[in-house]
Structure formats: structure tokens, C-alpha cells
Amino acid sequence: MRRTTWWLATLAAVLLGVAAPAAAEVGVTADRILIGTSQSFSGPLVFPGTEEIAGIEAYLEYVNQSGGIHGRKIEWKWYDDGYKPQDAVANMKRLVEQDQVFCILINQGTSPVMAVVPYLEQKKVPLMFPFQGSSRLHGKKYVFTSFTYYDTQTQIVTRWLVEKKGFKRIGIIYQDDAYGKFFLNTLKKELEAKGLKIAAAESVKRGATDVAPQVAKIAQAGLDACLLALVPGPGAQVLKEAAKIGLKKTKLISSGPLTDEKFLILSGGVGEGVWGLSLWPDPVRDDSPAMQEYRKILKKYRPGHEPNRYNLYGYFYTKLFCEGLKRAGKDLTREKLIQALESIQNWENGIIPAVSFGPGDHQAQDQGFMVEVQGGRFVPVSGWLGIRDGKLVESPL
């Protein structure tokens, strides 16, 4: 009798031991899901990086405290790549092969992101919402992208300026790298399609000390509007230099990622009247219920962090990721997560326009709205703008 029990127990253990890994997915156990990412905890993008992580962690802790998703808590592992592509690749290999994460949530920067995509695609590891806007990630099965592509952003701004404002002489000051050239090239194409020519194009090297030459040339060109495809520091330098030489005739317009409170703070109050394309509602002042909830959760779980567009990004896309996890159901696998996300249609969220995905459509947002700096803040001057069938369309905010 005792011997039989022992045998049965052994048999059961062996069966369970064989059965359990077959049913489960990498990084998923009965009570936890392990995710990871490689981010900028040092290097030039350290501020956006740490803020995105703060937003991610705030939302994940909120979810874990509310009982997790299908009874599973979400755990995470983050590594620093300092915006270096080779480090980003090494981190991803470590996350996938050694730590065995379920998926990657929100990494950052065009070059580090591009460097890791082939590897993640090959390993069939989902990459959720990298913080970048190059359209080259379009149509990848294991990648879901976040905000409006840089070329769509430029299309929206150019058409709004030409069609709604009747501007003709348009130029650009861009960062002298792949990022800046995304905006430059689309602007050229868009203007040519309207029978116009780019009236001035000036580049700024990252870490430049003086932008006086660029602003002087823009002033000389007598533009109606000048796009700024820069990061906040140099963007603020341009505003200060323009204020100094009294450049009033030309509207300065910040691109999507530049339309950020930091850009205004750094410019020291000379930004009044500047226009920009905004991808987000005002993180500090917008009082829709969804935005109030965001500030409440951020304050509770990451009290050292003031609301800004980077931690709002981390928060919002983690929320969307968790929506996918919920829809994927109890028997979570990587393939099911992708199917679940693809099933999302018109997901009303109170922060950006309703999100819809589908097979072959993994982009969360493709609109933005125009703002003007009034009294030191971005005030909307248009509805949500997007491009549908090659035409500029506007819908209420």
C-alpha cells in the first residue's frame, strides 16, 4: 500500500513536471509575468529615460497592488544602454536568453531601438511601444509602435500651415543627424507636392554652443514659418537667439517631441507666440478624468516625479500593454498577446484619440494637434489633426 502511494506520487510529479513547462510561456508562471527593457539611465537621453521608467513603474505598481492581471503580478528587469546601440543589443540578449523575459516594454532612441529589432523579431519576442517615431518599424509582426511617425507629424504641420494658414515661405532648423533628417526630407517632399520649395534649411550639431548663425540666416531668408526639429536644449537656444535679434515675422514651430514643457522652461519665458505640434494633452493642467487619474497614480507610486510628457508616455503605454494582457486571457503566450492587442478597436482612453490595432496595423497614434504658447503654456489652436487618404482631416479634441 505504502509503496503504491509512493509510486503514484512520483508518477504525478513527473507528469506535472513535464506538463507544466509545455503549457506555460517563457517569463510567465502561475503568479507572475517577467518583463524587461534596455533604457537610458545614463547618456544624452537620461532624463526622458528615467521619466519614462517612472511612469511605467507607477502604473505597474498600481496594477500589482490592485491584484495583478489574471492573478499574476508583473515583475521587471531594466538595464542601462546609455543610448548606445551595441549596449542595447547586449542588454536584449541578456533579457531574452538569461533572464527569460516574456516581452520588452518601452525602450528608447531611434538607433538603439533599430539595432535590437532584428534580434527580437528573430527570437519572436514582442517589443511593446519603443519611444521613437521612425516609420521604418511599420509592418513588423512582433513590434507595436506608439506615437505619430515623424514623417506624418511633418505632413500634418506642413499641410496645416499651407492649407489653413496660407503660408508659402517655410524653412526648418534641424538636428544634424538621422532624427533631424526625417523631418527635413518629409518637409521637402510635402512642399514640392504643393508646388513650393523649402525656403531655408539650417542644421544644428548636437552640443553646439552658438546658434546665432542659423537664426541669422533664418531671419535673412524672410520666412513665414520655421520648423524646429531639435531636442529641448538647442530648441530653447533658438528661441532665445530669435528673441534677442527681434525675429517677429517668422513663426517658430516645434516638432512633436520638442513640444514639451522642458523646452519652455529652458527658454526662460521668451517662447510666447511660438507654435507647435502636440501629441499629448497638457500633463500638468488638463483635467479630464483620465489625466487626473494619471497624476494621482504617479503621485502615489512615484512621488518624486512631477507630471511631464515622458512619464505620461510610460504610464499611458503601460496601461495599453496591460489592456492587451487582460484581453490575452489566463493562458498567456506571446502569440496570444499579439492577437489580443490586434483585437483592440476604438479603445477610448481619455488621453489620446481612440486606439485601434489590427493585423498589419500596430501603430497606436497617428494624430497631433497644433498649440500656441500663451502665458507660458501650450494652448490648443486646432483639433486633432491627421492624414486620411492623403488629406488633412481635423476632429474635435
Partner: protein, 288 residues
């Protein structure tokens, strides 16, 4: 546009010049090349910023306080990592200062974060129209401070005991020591003065560049300025800095985007080929 670019370039060039002066000071006293000079400027500017924001000192007092504290940081660096390497080849010390620059940048990030901050300007950044040129008190103030410091340094080396001692140590450390000069004290003093000057330079450029831990990159144009003017020469550092600032701006204003960034360094190369001792450097002649 020409004169506009010249004035703006002179102001930027003065900041290069101040950092280049710091490099020159340390080189003249110790024959070491200090790669951490830019980080000393950055830390000094952050210290001044902290005094202004947390102790609510007026900007001028905070900037001066930052220069004094920055000098103290220079002293600590000299005591902690440079002095132990005394007598080692220059290349060792150069690598030590390279490490020091990385350590200072990381420590500053831990204390103040790697975020960017708006730095209150010492002089008004509002433009004033003079004929066809718009200048700001910030531009003019920066130029005035740099020239004032150069005159002060000149007087210091010519008329004070410390200054004469430093020159003596530079010429011949052994002989100076035999004559009763405390060589180690002179080395420490060179670091303090150099770091203090760089802190001041940091505070002058921060309103334009924004205060951040990445500001240390200003050491690269400062090196170029010091070499252009004549490595080891004080007037050369000033002239080289101003020339580099103006060349950069004129290249940006009149040349195509693709080549403007390399023009300043082409000029440095051309000057060095034609005149290896730099614009104002002394030609070293070795008699065998």
C-alpha cells in the same frame, strides 16, 4: 549679419578662452594636460546654481561662490588623484584626468540628476540695438569678464610672490625647490585657480547652453583654442578662444551646412602647419 556673427562669436569664444586659460594654468605649473577641465566648469556652475536656488543668494554672489567652491573641488582632485601620481609620465596623468572627467560627470548626475536646467544669467540676455548689430549685456559682460581675468592673471604672474613662484616652478621645479619654493603648494594652487576660473566660465556659458552634466564637452573647443593660440601661452589662450568662436560663427553663417562643422578645425590645422607654435606661442628652440 557679418558683425552680428562676430560679436556673438566673440562672446562664445571668451568662454572657450576661460576654459583654455584653466588648461594653460595647469599646464604651465605642472606640465600636465587636464582632460577634466570641462567637468570642473560644469561642477562649478552647478555649485553656483545650488547656492542661487537653495540659499537664495543673488546671482553674482552665487556665481562667485560657485567659483570658490569649484576651486575647492579642484584642490580636492589635485590632492586625491593627481598628487599620488607625482613623478609618473605625463601620459599616465592624462589618463587619470580622463577618468576624473568621467567620475565628476557621474557624481554630478547623482547629485543634480542628468536633467537640463535654465541658468540665471549674470547679465541681461535682452538684445540692445547698436546700429545694425544687436548685442546683449550678457555678450558684453562675458567679454569684459574674460579680459578682466586675463589682465588679473598677467598682474598676478608679474607682481605677486605666488605668481613668481609659479613661474619659477614651471621653469625648473628642482631649482625652485632649492630656492625655497614649496613646489607642492604651487601645484595645488594652480589646480585651485584653474578650477575656479573654469567654474566662472561654466556660469557664463550656462545661461546660453542650459546647465546640464553634458556641459563638460566645452573642453574640446577649449583645447582647440589653446592650441590655436599657442599651447602654454596665456594671451594665446584668449586670442585662440576668441578667434575660434568667431570662425565657427562665420563658417556657420556663410558656408554650406555640410562643411561648416569642420572649418574651425581645418583652420586650427592650417595654423599649426604654417606656425607650429600657434598664433602667440613662443617658439621653443633646443640647442644641443
Amino acid at each position: 549679419m557679418f558683425w552680428q556673427l562676430v560679436v556673438s562669436g566673440l562672446a562664445t569664444g571668451c568662454v572657450y578662452a576661460l576654459v583654455a586659460l584653466g588648461l594653460t594654468l595647469i599646464y604651465r605649473a605642472t606640465e600636465h594636460v587636464n582632460f577634466a577641465q570641462g567637468e570642473l566648469a560644469m561642477v562649478g556652475a552647478f555649485l553656483g546654481f545650488t547656492l542661487h536656488v537653495h540659499l537664495q543668494l543673488p546671482v553674482w554672489a552665487a556665481v562667485l561662490g560657485g567659483a570658490v567652491l569649484g576651486g575647492a573641488v579642484g584642490w580636492v582632485c589635485e590632492l586625491a588623484v593627481i598628487r599620488p601620481a607625482e613623478g609618473q609620465p605625463h601620459v599616465n596623468v592624462f589618463i587619470i584626468t580622463l577618468g576624473l572627467s568621467i567620475v565628476l560627470k557621474s557624481l554630478a548626475g547623482m547629485v543634480w540628476s542628468h536633467d537640463e536646467f535654465p541658468f540665471p544669467p549674470l547679465f541681461s540676455p535682452r538684445g540692445v540695438r547698436l546700429g545694425s548689430v544687436v548685442v546683449t549685456p550678457l555678450n558684453l559682460g562675458t567679454i569684459a569678464v574674460a579680459l578682466g581675468i586675463m589682465v588679473g592673471l598677467f598682474a598676478f604672474f608679474r607682481y605677486t610672490r605666488h605668481g613668481v613662484a609659479m613661474r619659477a616652478v614651471c621653469e625648473n621645479p628642482e631649482a625652485a625647490q632649492l630656492m625655497g619654493v614649496e613646489v607642492r603648494r604651487v601645484y595645488a594652487f594652480a589646480w585651485i585657480l584653474s578650477a575656479g576660473l573654469s567654474a566662472l566660465a561654466g556660469a557664463l556659458i550656462a545661461p546660453v547652453l542650459n546647465l546640464s552634466t553634458h556641459m563638460g564637452a566645452v573642453v574640446i573647443p577649449a583645447f582647440a583654442a589653446a592650441i590655436l593660440g599657442g599651447w602654454g601661452s596665456f594671451p594665446g589662450a584668449i586670442a585662440g578662444g576668441m578667434a575660434l568662436g568667431v570662425i565657427e560663427n562665420l563658417a556657420g553663417g556663410y558656408l554650406a551646412a555640410q562643411i561648416k562643422n569642420m572649418v574651425p578645425f581645418l583652420v586650427v590645422l592650417a595654423v599649426l602647419v604654417a606656425r607650429p607654435q600657434g598664433l602667440l606661442g613662443e617658439r621653443e628652440v633646443r640647442k644641443v
